[in-house]
């Protein structure tokens, strides 16, 4: 967590650092006031709220690589609506489970993943973008025991919070560091990630 906070601080500091004054040509065209912005992010994701007890586990993993695609309608107003679709690897565990009358002690393996469909608003402050929203998470389970595997899924409500700090910002695209947190209410899972984000203006008007 301390490392995560350090990286977050670094991202914010880089984003807010003063930049050299840009030369202003006498014939510079006026900047477009609206844009449809497409962004991708790849993050190192950590499930911080334990979805299960590690007691008796032979193997657990709560980290993984998350990816997300977002589309933002950037407006001249102070908030810009966005949608974000992200894949989150949440949890994996292998343990010896006591199945009782259903089979005694047996090896049980499972994975928990989610795909989030989030809508919300983004707030741009210089080189920092704060995004917050809510939506649905498709929570997916794969569980194997006694040689049989089941796959189930459910849709849960969830919240989303992301902070982007752009270390490079050109008129049409931006590269930066993103920190995001996703909280899936029904599954009671919080996932926090940090990684790189790239976004560009697909349409400007």
């Amino acid at each position: 967590m301390r490392r995560l906070l350090s990286l977050l601080s670094l991202a914010v500091a880089l984003a807010l650092a003063p930049r050299g004054a840009r030369a202003e040509g006498p014939t510079a065209p006026p900047a477009p006031r609206h844009a449809i912005e497409v962004g991708v992010a790849e993050l190192f994701e950590v499930t911080t709220t334990s979805p299960g007890s590690p007691a008796g586990a032979l193997f657990t993993r709560r980290v993984g690589s998350a990816v997300a695609l977002s589309i933002t309608y950037r407006t001249p107003y102070f908030l810009s609506p966005f949608v974000d679709v992200g894949y989150y690897p949440l949890y994996q565990r292998t343990r010896v489970a006591d199945l009782g009358t259903a089979g005694g002690r047996a090896l049980a393996d499972g994975t928990l993943e989610a795909v989030g469909f989030i809508g919300g608003f983004a707030l741009d402050l210089s080189r920092v973008r704060l995004r917050a929203g809510g939506g649905a998470f498709d929570v997916m389970v794969r569980s194997s025991v006694l040689g049989a595997t089941i796959r189930t899924a459910e849709s849960d409500m969830g919240y989303f919070l992301a902070l982007d700090g752009y270390v490079f910002k050109a008129p049409r695209f931006r590269v930066g560091i993103e920190v995001r947190a996703a909280f899936i209410v029904e599954a009671a899972v919080t996932s926090v990630g940090i990684g790189f984000t790239f976004s560009g203006d697909a349409i400007r008007f």
Binding site: R93, A97, A102, A106, G110, V145, I150, T152, E154
Partner: protein, 438 residues
């Protein structure tokens, strides 16, 4: 930056806090207080089988502020004594033991307001001493005729603190004999999981607690696993309200029994039981008089009927008077029941939630109407005149319980607050005709 923009940004941050804030709150937890080191019961002798039944009755409250009533119902099981009052749906469940060489009967446990989380310890002793000695020995022949009326003296407390507030109860009159005519039906056990009375709903632990909480019949929710085994669970989907487990998500009927055992436990850590385990528990560990299997899918009907046939026969072998009814909640389930091959064994009891005509056409003994459809007094009378029983589901509010008990004569009420229905029936209920198949 304009002041309008500043205000808008401040509002945005405030809205964020409002949206995200609730996710940080900690759920209220219910205290389950116990006496340190087992209390006086730690060194007590057990009460002889059946002796506590002499303490059943309606009692006047001399002292006992936590119950907030002038009169309470006292109900006993094999080894517990319970007190039920109407205000706040208050109840106390106490275990009984004999001390001082069998001359004193002590009761220790906890009281609770079922409408909230108020709780505390309670310790009572039975008087007069001649009655306590008789109960502890199981020999009532030494008592005068009529025997002295029971009284309880003791103390109640608040929270986990040792009790210190005086409590006293005096016998007023006997309970109405309800066996075979009226039943308090515990909704999926002793209470709903969300009420946290000490066990999750639809658990074996809750089934064992059901009688002490005032019910004589238990309603159980039955689903079927992906490999065809009926098990107890209420909802169609696993959810954090009822179950826990990192991989316990999605439709319940996608899980095999092995997956259920590997991935899910009930809210308070209990194993999700199979229907067979539940029926065995009813027969072996309780004196419950009945079971209502609330089948959640038509596919549950066939395996449930076969288990009902098996455990009805087992109950007869064990000379247990327990009736097990297969619930039929909709037309698809009714078709599944009437189309069974081979048909249900003669004497198999079924309960139809549809119209009274469906009860008759299916040859079922019990009608189970949703209480929100109204008291249906004429339908109730007509069915009872034919020898059918009528059990309303699911009533938890005193206002409605009282209204139904005074405008009609049901054979049972399904409830999450068995103690409240018990107390209300004993206070103002009328026994229905004794011809019903209950």
């Amino acid at each position: 930056m304009s002041s309008d923009a500043s205000r808008a940004r401040a509002l945005f941050v405030l809205a964020l806090a409002v949206v995200l804030g609730p996710s940080c709150t900690i759920r209220d937890t219910v205290l389950h207080p116990t006496f340190p080191d087992g209390g006086l019961l730690a060194g007590s002798a057990p009460v002889p089988q059946g002796a506590l039944a002499h303490l059943d009755g309606m009692f006047r409250v001399r002292e006992g502020g936590v119950f907030g009533a002038d009169q309470v119902a006292v109900h006993t099981t094999r080894d517990t004594v319970s007190i039920f009052a109407a205000p706040n749906a208050a109840y106390a469940v106490m275990r009984a033991g004999c001390i001082t060489g069998g001359t004193e009967l002590v009761l220790e446990g906890a009281w609770r307001h079922a409408t909230g989380t108020n709780t505390g310890l309670i310790r009572l002793s039975l008087g007069p001493s001649s009655l306590a000695t008789a109960v502890c020995s199981g020999d009532f022949t030494t008592l005068p005729v009529p025997p002295p009326p029971p009284t309880f003296e003791g103390v109640t407390g608040s929270g986990a603190a040792m009790p210190g507030v005086a409590a006293g109860f005096d016998f007023d009159h006997a309970l109405k004999a309800t066996e075979g005519r009226f039943a308090v039906v515990g909704h999926h056990g002793a209470c709903a999981t969300t009420d946290d009375c000490g066990a999750s709903e639809n658990s074996l632990e809750s089934i064992r607690m059901t009688e002490a909480f005032g019910a004589s019949v238990v309603e159980l929710d039955v689903h079927i696993s992906a490999d065809g085994i009926p098990f107890l669970f209420h909802d169609d989907q696993f959810n954090s309200r009822l179950a826990t487990g990192p991989f316990c998500h999605g439709p319940v009927d996608k899980f095999t029994l092995a997956n259920l055992r590997a991935d899910c436990t009930l809210k308070f850590g209990e194993t999700i039981p199979t229907l067979e385990e539940a029926l065995a528990t009813v027969l072996d560990d309780t004196d419950l008089r009945g079971v209502w299997l609330d089948t959640k899918l038509p596919a549950v009907i066939a395996p449930s009927v076969r288990l009902v046939e098996k455990y009805t026969a087992l109950a007869a072998q064990k000379k247990r008077r327990v009736k097990i009814a297969v619930g039929i909640p909709d037309t698809d389930s009714l078709a599944a029941y009437t189309g069974l091959v081979p048909p249900p064994a003669p004497g198999t009891l079924c309960l139809v939630e549809l119209e009274p005509a469906d009860v008759r056409s299916a040859g079922c003994g019990i009608w189970g109407p949703d209480w929100t459809e109204g008291p249906s007094a004429s339908d109730v009378s007509a069915l009872q005149a034919d020898g059918h029983a009528v059990v309303f589901w699911t009533m938890d509010e005193q206002t409605f319980i009282d209204a139904y008990l005074t405008t009609t004569t049901p054979n049972g009420i399904v409830t999450d607050r068995p103690g409240l229905v018990f107390q209300r029936f004993q206070t103002l209920g009328t026994l229905p005709p004794d011809r019903a198949q209950l």
